[in-house]
Amino acid sequence: MGEEVKLLGFWASPYSQRVIWALKLKGVEYEYIEEDISNKSELLLQYNPVHKKIPVLVHGGKPICESLVILEYIEETWPQTPLLPKDPYERALARFWMQFAVEKAPAFGSFFTSTGGGEKGEKAAKEVVEVFKILEEQLTLGNTKFFGGETINMVDISHGWLPHWFECIEQLVGLKLLDPKTLPRLHTWAQDFKQLPIIKESLPDYDRLLIHMKSVREKMMISTK
């Protein structure tokens, strides 16, 4: 497969990062194009006219949009370092847990724009903790280092925003929820994930991310009033 691979992304976006991680794990060479999401390029609008969002993977000139769709495409096209089980049932389970990350995003969104206290804040925090408990149980049942076993797979990648981005959110909201005492396996998973060389070298600078997310949070809180 000698065709050119390009990735339109945004440095702070965890969705962009998912694709970077998958490409790097499979050793796929690609050209990264940074998008200014406050001033979207003609190229982005041309490649993703439906959602006008990053990430977009462009392979041989053909665009693929939506991060989980891109991950599935990467898996089909570059089978080395498999990131999904081959067995249909195990694969279905993995996809279930990938979808879980998508379905629970609104709960994290509510927490992000909450102030930690008050009825709304408490409800949002409670929902997030419920999600964490479910993930904790999954890790406990599997009894492996990562959701994918001894090495990461797409389930880890789908939840891979937690170790870095959620830390920022906890700092901004002023409430720590990913507690090592009550969620020991999930907490360990987050630390182990972040330390993987491919992940560590790709993560955006924490302080820079914190400033960016602070600004995003302020804008979101104004618009939801």
Partner: protein, 218 residues
């Protein structure tokens, strides 16, 4: 070993209809267990402890949840007949993209179209119709979203057309005037046995909506 396939179902669910169409396309024999969602069975709670939602496919005792996930599973396991996904990775990605779009931009809005009122309903209706038009654009002049053959995207979208009559009455609009090609495409899909047998009559769905409105006091 003979396969034992069970579907935990709720007859008005568009998500469950997707699974029924897939099973019919592949000629799979299965047992249906109708769930009462206000009194969920212990089987459902055991098979889908995370969401407690239907549809759930139970294949030789092992549960698979989430409608599109189930469809992908069925396509992979019973690969010998009526492939639902294209074999080319790029075409496959496009099919997945549109199935995902249908989930996020059509199915997720459906409930609000019939349930909401006033300004909120007008806003949801506008968005819903706009999204249908996007799909209509993607369909173009093709017979099906998949091209000449019925495929994943068709399967993902067609069940909610059984709800269109209810949406139209509740929100006061006509799919025929707004998206005539979608209506034409839906009729074409209904000519297929697998689809016709899996979708309830729109009048039945409307009776169900009226019942729900009464229960919710709407």
């Amino acid at each position: 070993m003979e396969d034992k396939v069970v579907l935990l179902d709720f007859w008005p669910s568009s998500y469950a209809m997707r699974v029924k169409i897939a099973l019919a396309e592949k000629d799979i024999q299965y047992e249906v267990k109708e769930e009462n969602l206000s009194n969920k069975s212990s089987l459902l709670l055991e098979m889908n402890p995370v969401h407690s939602m239907i549809p759930v496919l139970i294949h030789n005792g092992k549960p698979i949840c989430e409608s599109l996930n189930i469809v992908y599973y069925i396509d992979q396991v019973w690969s010998h007949k009526s492939p639902l996904l294209p074999s080319d990775p790029y075409q496959q990605s496009q099919a997945r993209f549109w199935a995902d779009y249908i989930d996020k931009k059509i199915y997720s809005l459906g409930k609000r179209v019939w349930k909401s009122k006033g300004d909120e309903q007008e806003a949801v209706k506008k968005e819903f119709i706009e999204n249908l038009k996007t799909l209509e654009g993607e369909l173009g002049d093709k017979l099906y979203f998949g091209g000449d053959k019925f495929g994943l995207v068709d399967l993902a979208l067609v069940p909610i057309t059984s709800w269109f009559y209810s949406f139209e009455i509740c929100a006061n609009y006509s799919t025929e005037s707004e998206c005539p090609k979608i209506v034409e495409w839906a009729k074409r899909c209904m000519e297929k046995d697998s689809v016709a047998k899996s979708l309830p009559h729109p009048n039945k769905i409307y009776d169900f909506v009226l019942l729900l409105k009464k229960i919710y006091g709407l």
